[in-house]
């Protein structure tokens, strides 16, 4: 019985997770090193990877800052009623339930060139939709809950006693946060950050809709994979996919590490 279950599980994991990753690697080297290198060295690939990197960095920084602060407010703030906190708390999860395509559509509808807001920004010389700002907003939307969801439970669990103790000892709010709260939540923040990076790097639907997938301008790594597949340029698609997959595996290792650190503290 035991052997059967273990065997089945290993089989499921192999078929569903391990073989596909190996297959990507093989696909990338279909035409040997040359094919792989050619796929990656194309200027559009480099530009797409640059765009993805840029979005990941900006989105991660913004959402980490706001995510940690919002978690603090939702758990600790006395100036928010309990009802309001509950409501906000259930709203935090909304992006999880929104299809990325719909997330993109929302931004197009609110800030697209035909809308009042979009026109306003356009006059000011800023393009939002079909440009970098829109893509960043879309990714911010999609990744928003990740940090909050990691940090909030820990804040609840550690309680406010240590922070109150710091206050009675004369520490300011700022000192209390850095010296007392932060050491308790940092590994959860790291875990949330890793999830955010993964999601921002892999975001496809929302970015595809918002960016318009313009070559050398708004194309990201994932939308380039999509375009290469549509153009039957499978080797190139595989090369980029392999790079992304390598990134994912690295992130996975980071997740494991953050998780183990989180359990220690």
């Amino acid at each position: 019985m035991r052997r059967l279950w273990i065997g089945l599980t290993v089989a499921v994991f192999s078929v569903l997770l391990i073989i596909p990753v190996i297959r990507i690697a093989m696909g990338a080297f279909d035409e040997g090193w040359g094919g792989f290198a050619r796929g990656l060295a194309r200027p559009e690939t480099l530009h797409a990877l640059y765009m993805t990197g840029l979005i990941v960095v900006i989105v991660t920084i913004v959402n980490t800052l706001f995510g940690v602060m919002l978690s603090l407010y939702l758990v600790r703030a006395t100036w928010l009623g309990n009802k309001v906190k509950q409501l906000l708390n259930s709203i935090v999860d909304l992006p999880f339930a929104v299809s990325p395509v719909i997330g993109g559509l929302m931004i197009v509808l609110l800030l697209g060139p035909e809308t009042a807001l979009g026109a306003l920004f356009n006059k000011a010389g800023i393009d939002i939709v079909y440009a970098l700002p829109g893509m960043i907003i879309a990714t911010l939307f999609v990744t928003f809950p990740l940090v909050v969801r990691e940090v909030m439970p820990v804040l609840q669990e550690i309680g406010s006693a240590q922070e109150e103790a710091a206050a009675t000892l004369g520490a300011s709010a700022w000192t209390t946060f850095w010296r007392v709260t932060w050491p308790s939540i940092r590994w959860c923040v790291v875990y949330g950050v890793v999830l955010t990076v993964a999601r921002a790097m892999g975001e496809f639907g929302a970015v595809l809709v918002v960016s318009g997938n313009i070559l050398f301008k708004t194309q990201t790594a994932t939308t380039l994979v999509y375009q290469d597949v549509e153009n039957f340029n499978l080797t190139a698609a595989n090369s980029i996919a392999l790079v992304l997959a390598a990134g994912s595996v690295t992130l996975l290792l980071l997740m494991e590490w953050a998780k183990s650190r989180r359990e220690v503290h």
Binding site: A161, E164, L169, G170, T175, S184
Partner: protein, 354 residues
């Protein structure tokens, strides 16, 4: 620090946690806030610390109203119920925290930490983390941490609640001694009457958000001002019909007056044990329990059942034995009034009104 509290009120939603509490505390005293759980003791303590806002009323430290001061600026030390030690800091770092925040010099911090480590008997544990300490040691760290910045007032929230019964005793006397030595005004919250009686100079009994009585443990024991205090302090049995008891009948009480009788108010024995037999009643022993240092005896007098202690030196009673029972005094109360009454047939015919 001299502390004055006037008309203190606090509501959580619809729940009145603290209602019209007034009191004054002299410098250097150790005060026990005693009462059942959920009675508002901790709320009072947290308002004194500034961790909870005051709905109504004034808190005055040294003649200065501190209602609007944040906890950082009140000059207090607070020992939390579960200690709230900073779990990622060592013992020494925990103690030094308040000093670092106050920007003391490194040298002075080092000296002060060493002094407190010494005082609290934590030498050798400076480098340990809280999870490597026993409950009693954590308590001492919490105490040292709160004392380090030299507060004017020390507040302790159920300081012994999370400690084993055995060590609790030891820690109590240690704390008492420590506070005596430092001469710091201290207030501690507890729901354990033994703890309050043993440690505190003065006890404040808090029930349902109200201050029922304030006084020394002996005063409170001797002259409880309300039925709640009488029943909360010490052991007792309530007798519904007072007039049935010999020595307490016919004193013209209003109907509905009940009596609260403590075990130590009751004396039992054989006929030859008493000089004034007329003041005693006949009772029958129902049960006896060995209590380690004495017997606990349940006696039945008519419809009433009383509990009393009996020395191990005396003749051993058996269930079913007929005994004489002398009730020295009773605490009587009705809806409007309460007073202590001595057995009229014994000596003093006049009840003592409070």
């Amino acid at each position: 620090m001299h502390i004055e509290v006037r008309g203190l009120n606090k509501k959580f939603g619809d729940f009145q946690a603290v209602a019209d509490v007034d009191f004054e505390i002299e410098k250097g005293q150790l005060i026990g806030l005693l009462g059942p759980s959920g009675g508002g003791k901790t709320s009072i303590l947290r308002m004194l610390a500034g961790l909870e806002t005051v709905d109504d009323g004034d808190i005055v430290f040294h003649g200065k109203r501190v209602n609007d001061l944040p906890p950082q600026e009140r000059g207090i030390g607070f020992v939390f119920q579960n200690y709230a030690l900073f779990k990622h800091m060592t013992v020494a770092e925990n103690i030094a925290f308040g000093l670092e925040v106050k920007k003391w010099s490194k040298q002075k911090i080092k000296e002060r930490v060493a002094e407190l480590v010494d005082l609290t008997g934590l030498s050798g544990f400076e480098k340990r983390y809280p999870h490597q300490l026993s409950g009693g040691q954590r308590q001492r760290v919490a105490f040292a941490r709160a004392l380090a910045p030299e507060p004017q007032l020390l507040l302790l929230d159920e300081p012994f609640a999370a400690i084993d019964a055995k060590i609790r005793h030891e820690l109590r006397s240690w704390l008492r001694e420590m506070i005596d030595r430092l001469g710091i005004t201290s207030i501690f919250v507890t729901h354990d009457q033994d703890e309050a009686i043993e440690v505190a100079d003065q006890i404040m009994i808090i029930n349902k958000g109200r201050l029922e009585q304030k006084g020394t443990p002996w005063e409170i024991y001797k002259n409880p001002e309300s039925p709640f205090v009488a029943s909360f302090i010490g052991e007792s049995t309530i007798i519904e019909d007072v007039s049935a008891l010999r020595g307490f009948g016919g004193s013209g009480e209003l109907p509905g007056t009940k009596a609260l009788i403590r075990p130590e108010y009751v004396e039992i024995g054989k006929e030859h044990d008493f000089e004034l037999l007329s003041a005693t009643e006949t009772g029958r022993v129902r049960h006896i329990h060995f209590r380690g240092s004495e017997w606990l005896v349940e006696v039945q007098i008519g419809a009433a059942k009383l509990v009393t202690y009996r020395s191990l030196e005396k003749e051993i009673l058996q269930p079913g034995d007929e005994v004489r029972v002398l009730i020295h005094r009773a605490y009587l109360f009705n809806d409007t009034n309460s007073w202590v009454m001595e057995n009229k047939l014994k000596e003093d015919p006049m009840p003592v009104h409070i």
